[in-house]
Structures are given as structure tokens and as C-alpha cells.
Amino acid sequence: MSSGRLTNFLIPLLAVLLGVIVGSIVMVISGYDPIAGYSALLYGAFGDSYYIGETIRQMTPYILAGLAVAFAFRTGLFNIGVEGQLIVGWLAAVWVGVAFELPKFIHLPLAILAAAAAGALWALIPGFLKARFKVHEVIVTIMMNYIALHATNAIIRSVLSDKGYKSEEIHESASLRSEFLQSITDYSTLHYGIIIALLAAVIMWFLLEKTTKGYELRAVGFNQHASHYAGMNVSNNIVLAMVISGAFAGVAGAMEGLGTFANISVKAGFTGVGFDGIAVALLGGNNAFGIILSALLFGALKVGALEMPSSAGVPTELVDIVIALIIFFVASSYLIRLLLTRVKKEGK
């Protein structure tokens, strides 16, 4: 049992290590200095308080997107629609942030709830179609991403602005930003969203592992027939699982809308956060605590990467390669397990 736990912990670690090693091989082959490259990366992610602030800021939506993907995974669904749900969540949060003027203790929660509701609504559609018509959620969520993108752009242009490309800035009372956090991180864009993200991780863990509803959701995810036999309402649970997943994604959007950007602008393409969320969830083993760690890693990689071109001449894309490799190695955990057992045997 405990050696199994150890293995479960070692696998992502080794995967990261292998990813980093192969990444340096790529750098050496293409004539870059891997030590300079990774030093720049590390400096750019943790070098001083400013960078740490940026890393945590980047990590915030990653946690929530990761939770969204993981929640669906754990309940037998594959939510590729996190990206779209995030975008509508962002829109809803900004909308509420712009449209009302309320005391902060009402306005901010309201804006976040609006984002959660929007994300949930966006996920409700694929959930409902799957439960009611057995339509494949993967393809519906892919389609919903595009619909979210275009519809949001249209709303920004026609409702949130006068044919402009961005909304107004949200009112201070809906903002997650904090002068205090900015001051201790030398004006990074760090905001209070990280607290919400951590809270969400706790909620996900508690909901899934400790409650009867979570039990039902997991049961339906594993075996719909047995769940039906046991008296659970399979359709409702599928919809609910999707809705909760979407709500996490929507809140991820609120982090951008109320924290990082304080507005929303017309998007030419996807933010990528939703897709990165898949990687975050996987590396985190679809487990709330693991997701926090893997979000930290990916946040650091993304933010740190920006330092690589100027300091070491290495293209930022190297980080995408490293991330891809890490996912590969995590996925191929069978390989790592084999290696580990071999090492263990030889150790004996």
C-alpha cells in the first residue's frame, strides 16, 4: 500500500525530471545552452518577488481549469469545453463588474457567482445532451468552445462596448486586485484570486471524496448501470457533474476578468488556459492537492519562459515542448512503473 503511494508520488516527479532532461537534450542539439536556458526560466519564475507574484497569478486560473477538467474526469466525463466555459465565465464576471455598483462584499461574490453560473450553464448543454440524447460530450464541448468565442466577442462589441474591442474596466468593488499584494510583489499582477482557487480545490476534494453527492457522481462516472441499479438518477448526475465542472471553469474566467485584466476584450483565438487545464489535471493525478502543485509548475514554466529569449536566447516554445514531454511521461506511467520495479529489484 505505502509503496504504491510512493510510486504514485514518484511518477509525476520522475515525469517532470525526464521532461526537463529531454528538454535540455533538445536545447543542446539545437545549439542552446541548457543551463543558461533553465537558469533564465527559474529566474523568470522565482527570481524575485515580482516574478513570484506573476507565477502565482498565472497559477490561479490553472488551478481552477485543472479542477474543472479533473472533476469531469473523476465523474467519467471528458470536458474539453473548459476553454469555452472559462470565456463565458470571464464575460459574466466582467459584465457584473461593470454593470453594477455595489458594496464590495456583495459585488465581488456576485461577480464570481455570475462567472460560475455562466460556466455551469455552458457546460449544462453538453451535459444535458449527453444525459438525454447520449451525444458524445467531447464533440459538443469542442463546438461549444467556438460558440463561446464568437458569441462573447459579439457581446463585447455590441453590449459591453459601443462597437469597441473591449469592455470598460470593472468597478473597484468587483475587483480581486489588491494594492497590498502588488506592493509586496513589486507591482506584479498578483491578485486575491489565488485564495479563491485554493478554496475551490478544497471544495472539490471535499465534495468528491467526503459527500454522498460526490459518491454518487463518482459511481455514475464509473458504472452507469450499477448506479441505476442502486437507485441513483444517472441523467441528473451526469448533468450535475458537467455543471460543477463548468462552474470551476467559469470561476477560472472570473480570475482573468476580475483579477488579471479587469476587463474583457475581443479575442482572436482561445486563451489556451482551458486546454492547459487538461495538462494540469493530468499531472496532478486528477486530485485536488496534486492539481495545486502541477498548476504551480505550469504557471512557473509559462511565466519563466518569458525570460528565456532575452536572457538565454532560447525560444519560449521550448517550454511547450517540455510541458508536452511531461504529459507524455505522466501518461506513460507504465513505463516509469516498470523502471521503478526494476530499480527496486536490483536494489534488493
Binding site: V26, S30, G31, F78, I80, I125, L129, F133, K134, V135, H136, V138, I139, V140, I142, M143, M144, Y146, I147, H150, A151, N153, A154, G269, F270, F275, I278, A279, L282, P315, E317, L318, V319, D320, I321, I323, A324, L325, I327, F328, V330, A331, S332, S333, Y334, L335
Partner: protein, 319 residues
């Protein structure tokens, strides 16, 4: 504008939109029929587009008019080789196939942009000079009504894509290879007991998907974008995946779905010039293809029956 004129505008562009999707979706059919989910089609298209453009830029001088064809060939090979990663991970190392596919997507875009920066010192390539030509197919284009709609102003790769769908259909449903491929996707252990090498079949299928998605990407880059950058392939692989599911894992269905996407896409663009559609706010036209797809899935075909063993690694002796 009369209906005929409108169709004459919409249909050819529907077909050229559809062609890369058809190639890629057919690749997806091979892979998924063998039981391996391939969400990495997007990344494989990226690799195909990258290879196609780089080859074209590098060898246009030497090969002249032949260049784009050779570029497709090379993209096909590179796509197949690249897909080996997915094969190794998901077949030999029992990786979660969705995860491995996601990794393919990340790796493809990361690696190709990295290489572009390395090779050209900038984030996108130059424009290729030699592409495919628009042609009117002799004889067929002279058929009244249908001729001008379907056989004028087309690109040869588009017609190849459509013909290929029939070839793939034949291979999958009429040949021993196809029967074995499908058996491996439905019930790998049964196939194993019949002496079929499950892993080998799946490797072949995944590499075929890499090859076809490679062609799909290269066709897209050669005909449409003519260069390669981060935005060249943006979601086309996912659309191809959707087309394959929409088409119920059937080659002809996948082709039909891809053509439908092409048509919807083309309508959403050309629609802005069609008198009665002109009044409709653009956003409705932009989201139309996606909404239509969802409606179609819900309404006409309901549940799509995936190959039974789809997504599960085959481990000998496990039940």
C-alpha cells in the same frame, strides 16, 4: 444573385475547406477503428503543415511544379513518424490515449514553432511560391449545373480526398486488413485469440492516422495559408475529430460530415453577401457551423456507437 450563383460561390469553397478535414478525419477513422483514441489529430496536422511548408520553401528550386506533391508525401511520412510517439505511449506504455493525444498537440505546436525560430530566426515562415493550381476538371466540368458547381475551380487534392474516402471505406469494410482492424477495435482479445497481433495492427492504424493527418495539414498549409505560423492550424484537427465522430467512425460518414462543416463554414462567410442573410448579424453566421453540428448530432443520429474497445489499452490476459 440567383441561387445558382450563390451555390457556385459556396460549393467550391466548401470543398476546399473540407479537404484537409477529410484527410485528417479518415486518419482518425483508422486510428479509432483500431481502438486508439486520437485527439492528437490537431498536432499531427500541425506537423503536416509545418513539414509541407518547410519542404516547399527549401526545395521549390529543385523540384519546381512537383514540389507541392512531394511536400505532401514528405508531410505524410513525417506525420506517420511523429504519430509513433502516440502509438508507443498509448499502445506499448498503456498511456491514457486522450492524455497522450493532448501531449501530441502540445508537442507538435511547440516543436514546430521552436524549429521555425531556429531555422528562420522568426516566428513564421515565408510564403511558399508554388502551390496547387485551381483547375476545371475536363469533361466533368462541362456537365450542366453539376459541372460548374462541383468540378470547376477545384484543387486536385480536394478530389483526391473525396476519392480517398471511398478507398478507405473499401479497405476497412471489404478487405482482410479492415476486418482485422475493426476486430482489434471491438474486441482485441478475440482478435488476439485468432492470431492477430493486436499491437501491430494498432501501430499501423495510428501511423496511418499520422500519415493522413500529415497530408491534411500540408494540404491546408499549401492551399490556404501558404505559410506556417502559430495560427496556421487552429482547431482544424478538432473539427476533423468532430467530423469523424459525427460520421459515426465511418469513412463516408466522416467525409460527409467534413463536407457539411465546409459547407457551413463557407455559408457563414459567403452568407454576408447573400441578400436575405445579409441582415443577419455576423455572429449568428459565425456560430452556425457549430450549432448545426450540435443539432445534427442531437437530432439525426443521436448516439454514435464508438468501437467498443476504444480508449482501452490491450493488456494480454486481462479481462
Amino acid at each position: 444573385m440567383g441561387v445558382f450563383e450563390i451555390l457556385q460561390i459556396i460549393i467550391p469553397s466548401a470543398i476546399f475547406f473540407a479537404a484537409p478535414l477529410i484527410f485528417t478525419a479518415l486518419g482518425g477513422v483508422f486510428s479509432e477503428r483500431s481502438g486508439v483514441v486520437n485527439i492528437g489529430l490537431e498536432g499531427l496536422m500541425v506537423i503536416g503543415a509545418f513539414t509541407g511548408v518547410v519542404f516547399n520553401l527549401t526545395f521549390a528550386e529543385q523540384f519546381g511544379e512537383l514540389t507541392p506533391w512531394l511536400a505532401l508525401l514528405v508531410a505524410m511520412i513525417v506525420g506517420a513518424v511523429f504519430s509513433l510517439l502516440h502509438a508507443v505511449a498509448s499502445i506499448s506504455f498503456r498511456a491514457d490515449q486522450v492524455v497522450s493525444g493532448v501531449a501530441i498537440n502540445f508537442l507538435a505546436i511547440g516543436l514546430s514553432l521552436f524549429l521555425v525560430k531556429k531555422m528562420y530566426g522568426k516566428g513564421q515562415t515565408d510564403q511558399i511560391q508554388i502551390g496547387f493550381d485551381k483547375i476545371d476538371i475536363p469533361v466533368l466540368s462541362d456537365i450542366p449545373i453539376i459541372g460548374p458547381l462541383l468540378f470547376e475551380n477545384g484543387y486536385i487534392p480536394s478530389y483526391i480526398a473525396i476519392a480517398l474516402a471511398f478507398v478507405v471505406w473499401y479497405v476497412i469494410f471489404k478487405t482482410p486488413f479492415g476486418l482485422r482492424l475493426r476486430s482489434v477495435g471491438e474486441h482485441p482479445m478475440a482478435a488476439d485469440t485468432m492470431g492477430i497481433n493486436v499491437a501491430r495492427m494498432r501501430y499501423i492504424a495510428v501511423m496511418l492516422s499520422g500519415a493522413l493527418a500529415g497530408i491534411g495539414g500540408a494540404v491546408y498549409a499549401t492551399i490556404i495559408s501558404r505559410d506556417f505560423s502559430h495560427a496556421t492550424i487552429s482547431g482544424h484537427g478538432f473539427m476533423a475529430l468532430a467530423a469523424m465522430i459525427f460520421g459515426k467512425w465511418h469513412p463516408l460518414g466522416a467525409m460527409g460530415a467534413a463536407l457539411f462543416f465546409g459547407f457551413a463554414q463557407s455559408l457563414s462567410i459567403v452568407g454576408q453577401t447573400i441578400p436575405f442573410l445579409k441582415e443577419v448579424p455576423t455572429v449568428y453566421l459565425l456560430i452556425a457551423p457549430y450549432v448545426l453540428t450540435i443539432l445534427a448530432l442531437t437530432g439525426f443520429i443521436g448516439r454514435a456507437d464508438a468501437p467498443k474497445a476504444l480508449g482501452t489499452p490491450y493488456i494480454k490476459g486481462k479481462r
